[in-house]
Amino acid sequence: MTDISTRSADGGAGGAALSLRKLAPVVFLAPAILMLAVYLLYPLVDSFRLSLLDWNGLGSNAQFVGLDNWKKLLSDTLFWEAAWNNILLAVFSVLIQMPIAVILAVVLDNAGKGSRILKILYFLPLLMSSVALGVLFKYFYDVNFGPLNALLDYVGLGYLAQDWLGDTRFALGAVIAVICWQYIPFYMVLFMAGLASFPAEISEAAKLDGASEATIFWKMKLPHLKGTIRTAAVLSVIGALRYFDLIYVMTGGGPEGSSELMATYMYRNVFSSFQLGYGSTVASGMFIVVILIASVLLRFSKRYETEV
């Protein structure tokens, strides 16, 4: 990266008269390129280098093992189960978050005076750190002292009470529910901006023609939101593929790996099993999976666009 920018400046300089203007792009871009080279590009390349080692991360006993770790990764069911959980997270994130966010956006669009205060309160979960939410919801789901089971008991649904985070059938779903709870308001605000850009004259005219609110929504407003929903879905999927925080805090990937994600599996390999080489292979494998899926998604939707 550094190379490219220096060469471009030199190329344009043409001898001794290196004017300030010719140097300008180099000077303006140098800090950004330096930071990205050291803390993003180098680690990325280094991760692939480490993936070829058998190393516990301590001392100099690292052994070059070629592609052994990669062969192991390809047949590592734990990794592919984790990748599958990432895909489940992505699919359910989109299926749960998008419809609810659209409904809430429409609700607030019609709520008049109350909409501002509702929007502000709905947004609160997004300000919380994932550790804070993770710890809070760990107690919320607690089998003995958790308010969720107490609530189910109170309304006479006590037989539905579960050890939400300790049961392989529910752990992933329980965390997905929290992730959705946190992010729905984000997409709601995105969709509210989309709805706000819907021309009021059109819905006025449609109403004069006798169209109901429902018709206006399904036939006009929803198609108007299509692009925004697509953007939101892509964001949601990419976020889900590299998700780590809440799963790590709430379940650590357990029980029995039932909520393991690629990132938590990588973390466990490096910092719990001290398999730094194989952990780097998992990280690099995750990188490849994320980049592949993201580039397919981005190809299908327009690139580089901002909303709001």
Partner: protein, 279 residues
């Protein structure tokens, strides 16, 4: 679907019902949290979880604040402040070059940096951990600044470049005719004119970094060097089953952003939505 009175009435009821329903879904966990912090540990076991505390007792807060909580807070403030200043300055400079200076590889380089937005940061974790040990920054709050700045740059450069492209060219051309060079133009014209864009990325990154967990968790290990999200983690280990005390830590760590939010909701919502950029 003709407009019948029945559907209209249904719509009129649905809006407040759904609005209040989601309000409950959002706020009940927080109400549970704050309520529990006023209970004693014994109370949290003996009474129903949904019962109101017997009295407003601040013993859990006093307990937490008598510990190293303020050290975590100080570290967070320092790391976030330094990182955000650097992010704003570095990304504004890069954005100016991309938006206004013609040079070879402008578009290619911009595309490359923007592509950094989809890189899962976890792939950088182990190499950065090793590098941090190597340069002797391990277990120092300053170890976080490099990764924080670098991971925030792609989205910040992208947002600011878009922003600066909208700034009218007349001012700049007038300044150039007056003999100003690119550096004067940047500091005297672009930096001030980009105010709203700069504040958006400052708010967005400040919130993201204030809550950042994984780098802080991996690159620091002592109470004296860790940031607020780790306070929750560490206290959790220390208090184990004292639920009210742990939730008091969670409440206290969340308080600074909630207070900031009370003063500038619109700005913070707008700043957070800056994250809705598709790379």
């Amino acid at each position: 679907m003709a407009s019948s009175p029945a559907t209209r009435v249904a719509g009129r009821i649905a809006v407040p019902v759904l609005g209040l329903f989601w309000l409950a879904v959002t706020t009940v966990p927080f109400l549970f949290m704050v309520m529990t912090t006023f209970k004693t540990q014994e109370e949290s076991y003996s009474s129903s979880v949904w019962a109101l505390p017997e009295s407003l007792n601040f013993v859990n807060y006093a307990d937490v604040l008598s510990g190293p909580f303020l050290t975590y807070l100080k570290n967070s403030v320092m790391v976030v402040a330094i990182s955000v200043v650097l992010i704003v300055l570095i990304s504004a400079m890069a954005a100016y070059a991309f938006a206004r200076i013609r040079f070879r590889f402008n578009e290619a380089l911009f595309g490359l940096i923007v592509a950094g937005m989809i890189v899962p940061i976890h792939i950088t974790l182990v190499p950065i951990y090793l590098m941090t040990r190597e340069i002797g920054l391990y277990d120092s709050p300053f170890a976080l600044i490099g990764p924080y700045v670098a991971t925030s740059l792609p989205i910040s450069v992208f947002i600011l470049t878009e922003f600066m492209r909208q700034i009218p060219k007349e001012l700049e051309e007038a300044a150039r005719l007056d003999g100003c060079g690119p550096f004067t133009i940047f500091f005297k014209i672009f930096f001030p004119l980009s105010g709203p864009g700069l504040s958006t990325i400052a708010i967005y990154n400040a919130i993201m970094l204030w809550n950042e967990f994984i780098f802080a968790y991996v690159l620091t290990s002592s109470t004296s060097t860790r940031t607020l999200p780790l306070a929750i983690w560490d206290y959790q280990g220390q208090y184990t089953s004292n639920i009210p005390a742990i939730l008091a830590v969670v409440t206290l760590t969340s308080l600074p952003l909630v207070v900031a939010y009370a003063f500038g909701q619109e700005k913070i919502v707008k700043g957070m939505m800056a994250g809705s950029v598709k790379g």
